[in-house]
Each structure stands twice: as structure tokens, then as C-alpha cells.
């Protein structure tokens, strides 16, 4: 019997299966995963490396999930070919599984630096990689992470947090150059150095030997080398099947390849020229394909995603979104830098909308900015409030009894103003109990007792002063 077949059980593939089951309890679903493990949350591997999350806490589905949800799963099984004539996928052992709908979620693979000794480096992509790194870290004295992108920074921070001296090598002039401008990259580097990560930018690795990483400008000693040099989409299966592949498997707004029965989602897919490497777009795509193939919403379409990068590294707060590289010449830029304090905040505004932002250091406004960026909401004329929460329109601090106007409400529960308290004091009430008996102030939640006491005291002092 034909059904929905999913190739790939990573973040995108496993999500698709969940989304299909959430919409349709009956559809026949078969999923192939190359890894032996039940699907896990790859986003959290940096936390596992850092030791802030245990390996058993990142599972997305437990072992019984597939039985409970009537999904056929083949773990540790690689699909080697798609037979488009007979509408079957073929596994390494020659097994054929027919499909009515095929979803490719083959993900991506790490790029290995093309240098001698590259095999000595451990990639940082899977749970197996993570376990190999951790095993090596136990015996290692010095580590090098090659690649100062998001994953490399998280890996370096994680290893340093385990007490291992770490050097982070980056080809470009500053860390996370895709997301950050130069100054933000510098602040991030400073922060990491303060946490025990040595930073070397603008360096090119020429080889890896036993105990050393060779650079054009010298070498760095290391008995553990982690490679975080980016990823490339896994497209061989699609290419062999004759599907249209450029950098990724080319799909339309329905996430359909040029074969209408075959979809592609996640890091292997290329939509509107873009290949996405973050989980949020992959999950949006999974929801759309689930809508379409279950018939839950035949009009569902994918229109691209807005990218928000959020670093997960202990004591390093960083968020970056949208077009962060624009300058004053192209857009309205609002910026605050305090390099010594590890703080950098930049807003990029065009046509009154937030189109990009960088926050390094304590990002108290990150939630607000992310939502303004995602939704294109209107911005306040005074931009400072977007960088410094509470600065614009801040509630007044506790007013002193002297400055408080007579109309100010003191007791909310009983709607009593300072003027009423003054009047009752003038009528003879000389303590909180007497004011309460006359006005009911303080008799609700009780929180204003101190303020009422302060007003009575002040009025008594005034009397003493003028007497």
C-alpha cells in the first residue's frame, strides 16, 4: 500500500512526521533515518557539549512514539535511490518502499576543510560527533575549534566551560561574520576571551598534524580539533533521481520539487534561491508540507523566513536578525557600544520598520525587537526605548509624599487620593489607623500602608515645622 514516505529523520523529517500525525491520525507514514538514534534536537547539541543539558534530555521522540502513533520507522537505514518510474524508494539492502508522496529531508553534511590531516578533526553535527568530542575532551589538554560561525562559537564556549584551553580559529576578520558587523564581532570576541577562549581571526588553516593545527602564519598546539566550517546540503539522492538541484534541491512555494509527488524540506531544500540552515524555517516548511499532503490546508504556501540567530552559550548573550550589515548610507542606524562592558546594540531601520538588529550583552529588549522584526510593527519615534527598556515612558518611581499631587491615587483598592488623606488628617486623623477608619485606605490589599504612613508622618512634620 502506498503512503507518505519521509527520507531523513532529523529536525525537519521528524517534525514533518509529527505535523502529519497532528493533522491526520490514519495516513500511512514511513520514515527512514540514517542515524541509529531516535530523533533528537540538534539545536541543543551545543548545550550537551557544554554540559548544561544531558544527552538523554534532547530526544524529540521516545522509543515508543512510533508505535503509539502508528508510524513505521527504519532507523539506521540509508535510502540509496528513488525509482520515480515505480514510485519507490530503495534502501541499501535492496528493499523497496512504494510512496504516493515522498518528502526528502536529507539535511546537510559538514564541510571538511580541504587540508592535509583533515581527518584528524572531528566535525560537530550529530550526537555521535558530540560524544566523540566529549570523549576526546576528557583526555585533551588543548583544543582548537576551526570556524568562528555560530556553531564554532558555541562549541568553543562549551569546551572552555569544561575547563579546557580552547583556541577558536576563523578565516574572516571577525567572528560570526555572516550575522555580525565588525564591531559586534569584536565585542563577542572580547566576551569569549574573558571566558577562556583564545580568538584568532583572519587565519587560514593549512594542515592538521598530530598535536598541531598548521596555519599560514604559524601553528597552534592542539590534541583535540573540532571542525565547524559550515555545511552543504545533501542532494545526491535527488540529483541521481534527476530532480532539479542547484545548491539545494529546488522547490516551489509548496515545497514541491519538479516532480509534483516529491517534496523537499529543511537544509537540503532551496526555496527562492535560499538554503536555510536554521531550524525555524525548516519547521515552518514541515508544517506547510503537512498541511498540503494531509489536505488540512490546500492553500498553505511557504514565502520564505525571517532569520533570527540566537547564540546558546553560557554567559554570552547574543541575538542577530535580518540585515545587520547596512550602514548609515543605506538605512537608519541606531547604535550603542560599550566594548569594555561587553555590550553592543544596533538597530537597522528602513521605512520606519526594523529590518535588522544585533544585540550583544544583556539583551533585555530582545523579545520586543524580535517580534517587531518578525511582524514589521511600527516603531516609536524615540528609538532609545528599543535599546534601553523602561527608558521611554517609564513608570514614575515611588513619589515622595511631598511631591505627590493631591489627585494622586494612594490606595487603589479603595480609590483614595492623597488629597482625601490630607483632608482627613486635617479633620484630626493622626495615624494610619485613623486614616484607614475614615477613608478605608490600606484596607484592601494592604500594599499602600507604608505610603499612607509616609504621608501622615510628613503632614505631622509639616505641622511641627510651621508651629
Amino acid at each position: 500500500m502506498r503512503g507518505i514516505v519521509v527520507v531523513g529523520n532529523g529536525m525537519a523529517g521528524s517534525r514533518l512526521v509529527s505535523e502529519v500525525r497532528a493533522r491526520d491520525k490514519k495516513a500511512r507514514v514511513t520514515v527512514f533515518g540514517a542515524e541509529e538514534r531516535a530523533p533528537y534536537n540538534r539545536v541543543l547539541l551545543s548545550n550537551v557539549l557544554a554540559g548544561t543539558t544531558r544527552a538523554d534530555q534532547v530526544r524529540l521522540h521516545g522509543p515508543s512514539w512510533y508505535d503509539d502513533h502508528n508510524v513505521t520507522v527504519h532507523l539506521g537505514t540509508e535510502v540509496v535511490a528513488i525509482d520515480r518510474e515505480t514510485r519507490c524508494v530503495i534502501t541499501a539492502d535492496g528493499g523497496r518502499t512504494p510512496f504516493s508522496v515522498l518528502v526528502l529531508a536529507t539535511g546537510s553534511e559538514p564541510i571538511v576543510p580541504a587540508v592535509p590531516g583533515a581527518e584528524r578533526a572531528i566535525a560537530f553535527r550529530t550526537m555521535d560527533d558530540c560524544e566523540r568530542i566529549l570523549a576526546a575532551a576528557n583526555a585533551a589538554r588543548r583544543a582548537v575549534v576551526i570556524g568562528g560561525g555560530l556553531l564554532g562559537v558555541e562549541a568553543a564556549r562549551g569546551l572552555a566551560g569544561r575547563g579546557l584551553p580552547v583556541t577558536l580559529l576563523h578565516l574572516k576578520g571577525h567572528l560570526m561574520d555572516r550575522q555580525l558587523d565588525h564591531e559586534a564581532g569584536q565585542v563577542l570576541g572580547d566576551t569569549l576571551e574573558g571566558l577562556g577562549v583564545e580568538i584568532m581571526t583572519g587565519v587560514t588553516v593549512t594542515g592538521i598534524t598530530d598535536g598541531k593545527v598548521e596555519l599560514t602564519t604559524g601553528h597552534v598546539e592542539a590534541d583535540l580539533v573540532v571542525a565547524a566550517c559550515g555545511v552543504r546540503p545533501v542532494t545526491a539522492l535527488a540529483l541521481d533521481a534527476g530532480l532539479h538541484v542547484e545548491r539545494g534541491i529546488v522547490v516551489d512555494d509548496e515545497m514541491r520539487t519538479d516532480d509534483p509527488a516529491i517534496f523537499a524540506i529543511g537544509e537540503c531544500a532551496q526555496h527562492d534561491g535560499q538554503v536555510y540552515g536554521l531550524v525555524a524555517p525548516c519547521w515552518e516548511q514541515a508544517a506547510i508540507v503537512a498541511d498540503l499532503i494531509t489536505g488540512a490546508d490546500a492553500r498553505a504556501r511557504y514565502r520564505g523566513s525571517r532569520l533570527v540567530t540566537r547564540l546558546k552559550a553560557k554567559s554570552v548573550e547574543l541575538a542577530a536578525m535580518g540585515e545587520t550589515h547596512l550602514t548609515d548610507a543605506d538605512a537608519e542606524i541606531v547604535r550603542f557600544t560599550h566594548r569594555r562592558g561587553g555590550t553592543y546594540r544596533k538597530l537597522v531601520i528602513r521605512d520606519g520598520r526594523l529590518v535588522g538588529a544585533i544585540l550583544v550583552g544583556d539583551p533585555a529588549t530582545v523579545g520586543t525587537l524580535t517580534q517587531l522584526y518578525d511582524r514589521g510593527g511600527p516603531l516609536p519615534a524615540d528609538r532609545s526605548g528599543l535599546l534601553f527598556p523602561g527608558l521611554a515612558g517609564a513608570a514614575p518611581v515611588s513619589p515622595s509624599p511631598v511631591r505627590m499631587p493631591d489627585a494622586a491615587q494612594v490606595c487603589r483598592c479603595n480609590n483614595v487620593t492623597k488629597g482625601q488623606i490630607r483632608a482627613c488628617w486635617e479633620a484630626g486623623a493622626r495615624d494610619v489607623a485613623a486614616v484607614a477608619a475614615a477613608t478605608r485606605a490600606t484596607t484592601g490589599c494592604g500594599s499602600c500602608a507604608e505610603t499612607v504612613g509616609g504621608i501622615v508622618e510628613w503632614l505631622c512634620e509639616q505641622e511641627g515645622a510651621s508651629a
Partner: protein
């Protein structure tokens, strides 16, 4: 600002103590004395022997006496708006009921009750529907109030009692997380039990309660569930799982743990707008507090996913090992005066007295025996509140409605539509003490006695059954709800089974509830008076009641709490280009529910005379709205107008309307929670336009 929460000075009245009773309004049921003065006015003074209020009262409580002698009181029945005698009015209503049922069957007449009715009235109303009218069509406004929390707690714990512990336990908790509640306005003396240094408030508005708190998580409307899932994710990742407790007292943890692995905090930050650091701080406060309590209110519950949101907060509490541990736990903050008792004794579409299920054969047999009828003659479950109101006057729906203690023209979602449904009825009978917005549409209006004019029991937010005593005589010309039901039953040929005396009804309720989850069989008026209230369950005459349930086991088949996998989903109606702002609604300190009572008390209307639209200065700037401008708020279901009040206390993407007046609920979304049938009151999409300059 720093606050002292030590007990305020005593404010006992110089008058001799009057009748000891409780406030007519919210579920805190503050203790008060009512004293009739020479001028035939009722003086209110707070009681300091009631733990809930400890001698405190808010402005609503202090001024409650004004309603007793309000010039707005109805004192004569009305038929089509014209004064009529009681015999004539009851006879007219009964004959029209009979005619409708003869023509269309028993379900053609419906009953709608309220969470403010005493236990005796709620019980009698349910019995009246099933025995006198033999209709399945009964539900009540508590569906709009507590139903999501009730569904979630029943699912998790096997029992729903708002607070499963005395309210004074909150004072011993090192941390309290309150999701979607504004107790500083809705029930101010509640705040006396909270320690601000350990208080965490989740609310899209910086409410007076949020201002008291050590930590405020200001989430986008409709994202409470994502936030709760992320808090649980953090609790697990940071090693705060109460392993032994989870192993011994819960089931389902592994699947829940796997499911929240998809809700890492950075993902939830983007959905909720709450910074990750604040989420982590909240979890650390709860986990490191020693005793901790998680509470939910309507802000988290009144959504089409409210049951799942409460479930997610219960999962968090269970993971931290809180429920069933003295001084810790999960609770919901009940809203209406008898919101708790009102959901236990049979005015809910799917329930029989004692919190029994109407489709359970054993429950039907027990209750039918108490009622002296054949179990087969008891109707089955009927429509939920919104579905019932929505069906009124349609070909398949009821043609007649009897309404007690509710004002759906103001309080139901999509209220403009509901007003139309009510107008399409052949018969609308409304029992109320004033001519409420809904009573204005009625065929027959029956003037009723109120709170201090009649006796009865109320079950407060703690599950403590309290005695409401008669303190003053009702005005001549009004009757109690129980007398009205008795009179109607007699005219429908069911006389004798519907006594009008509250104590007699309560004794029958005790028998009907015996053996049920909410067992009142050992509660008497005397025991309530002696003990200052009795916590249910109280299954025997010599049983003292149960202040803390769940200490030894949960009332599920295996004695364990059930953790249930839930997932976030966006608001049913999200913002878009046409309706770009979220609307959320809520309560003000000076008013209660639909305002039918409080809008007729001069001190309260002076404090809060009219609805207003609260919006952020950034949004006001963007739209050119100045303070005091009249603003038209337009949604997909209706339009209302309100005066602009500009405040940085609200998110810039959200506006707020208080719901005590007819208008705001014309806009709210009747999309229903699939489990609890709770409408999505708390979030819908609107647009704004200035229609008039400031005054």
C-alpha cells in the same frame, strides 16, 4: 516602590457587630458583617476572622450595602416590560414553557445559570432542568470562567478544586508564579497572602499585580502555552526535575520531557517576546524556593487552547514536585463568587451534583434515586454555554430560555450576535435583581432577592464551603430564586420536589453529592458556622473536611497525577494587515463581571464611570491618538468605541478593554477549546481609528 504587607490597622466599625456573612462578589468571598442601621441602610464592616481577607475589603466590598437599597432594584415582575403580579408572571412563563415543549419537545426550553448563585440555587437549577423541564439544555456562565482549568485539573489530578490547599499556604511559599491573573484588581485582599519578593507574574499588561512582582514576564497575548513549555524545558535542562517525586507520583513524564525538547527557550522567546534570561530567572526562583506554587487565572485559561495551557503549567508544577506537597502546589484562581460550587452541583451541561458525570450510569442511578425519578428519564449531556446561546431561536435550537444569575448580552463572546439570538426566542425568562442588559430583552422578568437577603452556602476559591446568612429583609415584592423555581415547578405539575427553603435544599444536595468527587454529605450549616467554613470533600458527619487534598495520592485510578503531552498553537485569529493589533480584555477593581450590580453603585461608577481603551504611547503616536480621544475599535465580529487611555503598561502591539460594559465582547472570538468549550476571550485581532477629539 517598596511595600509592606504586614496587616494594616484594624478598621472595625464602632457599630455593634452585625450579621456575619460574606461579600456578594468574587470567589475570595471576603468575610464581612452586615448591620442594618436606623435609616434602613446596610453598613458593611470587614471580618478579621476569615482567613481569605484577614480584615481587608476592597471598594466593591465596602460599598456592597448600597445595592441592597438601590433605586434600580426591581420589585415587581414584568411581562413584556409591563408590571405584573407574581401569579400572573409565573403562570404566563409556565404556560409558555409548556406550549413550547408540547410543540418542539423538552429540549426546546433551555436553562442558563451563573457562577454567582449559591450552591443551593445551582443544585436546584440543575434539578429543575432535568426533572421539571426534562431538558438536556442547561449550562452556565462558569463555562466562560473556570472550564479550562477544571478540564485540565480533572485530566491531570482526577479532581478539580481551584486551590487544593488553604489560601494561607501561599504565605509560606518562597515563590509563586501567577499566569494570567490580576488579583490586585480583581480580588485585592488576595495580595495579603503573596510575598512580593517571590512573586512572578505572566501578563501582557504591567498590571497592578505585575507591578508588585519581583519578576514580570510580559508575553504576547495568546502565547502562554509556548511560555509554559519553555519554562518546563528549562526546568528539565537545568536539572530541576524532582526525580523521586516524578517516579513515585506521576505518569507520562518521559513523553512530556521529549515533547518539550522542541521548546528550547530561544524558540519560545521569539513566539512570546519574553527574554530567555527572564524565563531562566523564573524557573530558578520556583526551583530554589523550597515551597513554591504555580497559579493560573483567566488570562491563561480563556483561550481555545486554555486547557492545554493549564496542562503545561501543571506539568511544570509536577516536574518540580509541587502538587500534593504541603505548602506547595498548583492552583487556579477562581473568579466568580461561587465559581467553585457552581461547577460542582449540576448546572453544567455534562454534570450531576457532587461533580458527577451525567453520562456515568452509576452517577445517574445515585442522583435519580435522590430525586425520586427513573435514571432513564434523566436527559444526557447538552450544549456548552456558547453553543447553547448560539443555537437559541434557530430551527434546531431552544425556543425558550430561563436565565438566572447571568448577563450574556454583556458577557458572552461575539455578544452582538448573542443579543440577536436572545431576541429570536419565543420566550426569555430572566430572574435578576435589577433590569440587566439581558433582562431588557426578556419576555418575563422576575425580581429576585440578593445576597444579604437570603441564606445559602458558597464555596470559595479554596474549596471551603461558607455560610451566607440573611442579614436584612428583602424589599417587598421580590422573591428568592428558590421560591421562583418552586413556583414554576408547581405550575409545571412538578410541585413538591422543589422546596424553597435553602437548608432543606442543602440537605438534599448533601445526599445527592454523597460519594461523588465533591462530597458535601458531612457538611451542615452548623458545622460551617462552628469551623468558619468546611473544605470539601467532607464525606461523613464526623469528618472535619479536607483542607489539603492530594497529600497522599491523587484521585486517579492509579493514584498518580497524569502528565499529558500538549503543544503550542497560535491564536485562532492572529493579527494581519486588516486587523493589525491584538485586543485583550479584563477586569477593573471597581467592577464585577458584567457590571449589572456594580454599575449601579455610585461610588463604583464614580471610580470607573465608563469603558476605556488602554494603548501604548508608541502605538498612540503611530495612530495619532491622544489621551481622551474617542477611538473606534473594529474587529471581524463587531465594533465598539471607547475613550483612549495611554499607558506604557501595555505592550505596543496590544490594546486592552475592560469588559464590564456592553461593547467589548462584541469583538471577542467565540472559537472554542476542544476539551473545555471555553471561548477565546483573551485574544482577537482589531483595528483602531479616532472618531472624536479629546474631551
Amino acid at each position: 516602590m517598596s511595600f509592606s504587607l504586614s496587616a494594616p490597622a484594624s478598621v472595625m466599625s464602632p457599630l455593634p457587630e452585625g450579621t456575619a456573612t460574606h461579600c456578594p462578589y468574587c470567589a475570595l468571598q471576603c468575610g464581612m458583617h452586615v448591620t442594618q442601621t436606623d435609616l434602613n441602610q446596610a453598613e458593611i464592616t470587614p471580618r478579621d476572622d476569615v482567613p481569605a481577607n484577614q480584615g481587608g475589603l476592597c471598594q466593591k466590598g465596602w460599598t456592597a450595602g448600597a445595592l441592597l437599597r438601590s433605586p434600580h432594584r426591581l420589585t415587581t415582575p414584568l411581562i413584556h416590560g409591563k408590571p405584573a403580579g407574581w401569579d400572573e408572571a409565573l403562570g404566563y412563563a409556565a404556560s409558555r414553557i409548556a406550549r413550547i415543549q408540547d410543540a418542539h419537545g423538552p429540549d426546546a426550553v433551555a436553562v442558563f445559570g451563573g457562577g454567582g448563585l449559591t450552591n443551593e440555587k445551582a443544585y436546584q437549577l440543575g434539578k429543575f432542568a432535568r426533572v421539571a423541564l426534562r431538558t438536556s439544555q442547561i449550562d452556565y456562565n462558569g463555562r466562560f470562567c473556570m472550564s479550562s482549568a477544571a478540564a485540565a485539573t480533572n485530566r491531570a489530578f482526577g479532581l478539580d478544586r481551584g486551590l487544593p490547599f488553604p489560601i494561607t499556604d501561599l504565605g509560606d511559599a518562597g515563590a509563586v508564579l501567577l499566569a494570567g491573573g490580576n488579583v490586585a484588581e480583581t480580588m485585592p485582599p488576595f495580595v495579603r497572602h503573596l510575598n512580593p519578593a517571590g512573586l512572578i507574574v505572566v501578563d501582557p499588561r504591567e498590571t497592578p499585580t505585575a507591578r508588585l512582582a519581583a519578576l514580570h514576564l510580559q508575553n504576547a497575548p495568546g502565547t502562554d502555552l509556548a511560555l509554559a513549555l519553555a519554562l518546563l524545558h528549562i526546568a528539565i535542562a537545568d536539572g530541576h526535575v524532582a526525580e523521586e517525586y516524578v517516579a513515585a507520583r506521576t505518569t507520562g513524564f518521559d513523553a512530556v520531557r521529549d515533547s518539550v525538547s522542541a521548546w528550547w527557550p530561544e524558540r519560545a522567546e521569539r513566539v512570546t517576546g519574553v527574554p530567555v534570561a527572564a524565563m531562566r530567572q523564573a524557573v530558578a526562583m520556583l526551583a530554589e524556593a523550597g515551597n513554591a506554587v504555580v497559579l493560573t487565572g483567566r488570562g491563561a485559561e480563556q483561550h481555545a487552547k486554555g486547557t492545554d495551557t493549564v496542562t503545561a503549567y501543571i506539568n511544570l508544577a509536577l516536574t518540580l514536585g509541587l502538587p500534593g506537597r504541603p505548602g506547595s502546589g498548583y492552583g487556579c484562581v477562581t473568579g466568580q463568587g461561587n465559581g467553585q460550587g457552581g461547577r460542582e452541583h449540576g448546572q453544567k451541561a455534562d454534570q450531576l451534583p457532587g461533580y458527577r458525570k451525567i453520562d456515568d450510569p452509576a452517577a445517574r442511578a445515585h442522583v435519580a434515586a435522590v430525586w425520586g425519578v427513573d435514571p432513564a428519564d434523566l436527559p444526557g449531556p447538552g450544549r456548552s454555554a456558547y453553543e447553547l446561546l448560539d443555537a437559541l431561536g434557530t430551527p434546531e435550537g431552544p425556543k425558550g430560555l430561563l436565565l438566572f444569575g447571568s448577563n450574556p448580552v454583556v458577557s458572552s463572546p461575539r455578544s452582538g450576535h448573542i443579543a440577536g439570538r436572545l431576541a429570536a426566542l419565543d420566550l426569555l425568562v430572566v430572574a435578576d435583581l435589577v433590569l440587566s442588559d439581558t433582562a431588557e430583552l426578556a419576555t418575563v422578568v422576575l425580581p429576585t432577592a440578593q445576597w444579604a437577603e437570603e441564606a445559602g452556602t458558597m464555596t470559595n476559591l479554596e474549596g471551603r464551603v461558607l455560610l451566607r446568612r440573611r442579614a436584612v429583609a428583602p424589599p417587598s415584592g421580590v422573591r428568592s430564586d428558590l421560591e421562583i423555581l418552586s413556583g414554576l415547578a408547581e405550575r409545571l405539575g412538578r410541585g413538591g420536589s422543589f422546596p424553597a427553603d435553602p437548608r432543606t435544599v442543602f440537605d438534599e444536595l448533601r445526599r445527592a453529592s454523597a460519594g461523588g468527587p465533591a462530597d458535601y454529605s458531612g457538611i451542615t450549616y452548623e458545622k460551617i458556622a462552628d469551623q468558619g467554613g468546611v473544605f470539601w470533600p467532607c464525606p461523613a458527619d464526623d469528618h472535619p473536611g479536607t483542607p489539603r487534598i492530594f497529600l497522599d495520592r491523587f484521585p486517579t485510578p492509579d493514584g498518580r497525577a497524569r502528565m499529558v503531552v500538549v503543544d503550542h498553537r497560535p491564536p485562532v485569529e492572529d493579527v494581519d494587515a486588516d486587523y493589525p493589533y491584538y485586543l485583550t480584555t479584563g477586569r477593573l477593581l471597581a467592577h464585577y463581571q458584567s457590571g449589572a450590580q456594580t454599575r449601579r453603585v455610585a461610588d463604583l461608577t464614580e471610580a470607573a464611570p465608563e469603558p476605556f481603551l488602554e494603548l501604548h504611547p508608541d502605538l498612540a503616536d503611530h495612530l495619532g491618538i491622544r489621551p481622551g480621544d474617542m477611538v473606534r475599535v473594529t474587529g471581524r465580529r463587531g465594533v465598539t468605541e471607547a475613550t483612549a487611555r495611554i499607558s506604557a503598561a501595555i505592550r505596543a502591539d496590544t490594546v486592552f478593554l475592560p469588559f464590564h460594559w456592553e461593547g467589548p465582547n462584541r469583538l471577542t472570538n467565540p472559537a472554542l477549546d476542544p476539551v473545555s468549550r471555553m471561548p477565546e476571550f483573551k485574544v482577537c485581532a482589531v483595528n483602531l481609528a479616532v472618531v472624536g477629539g479629546g474631551r
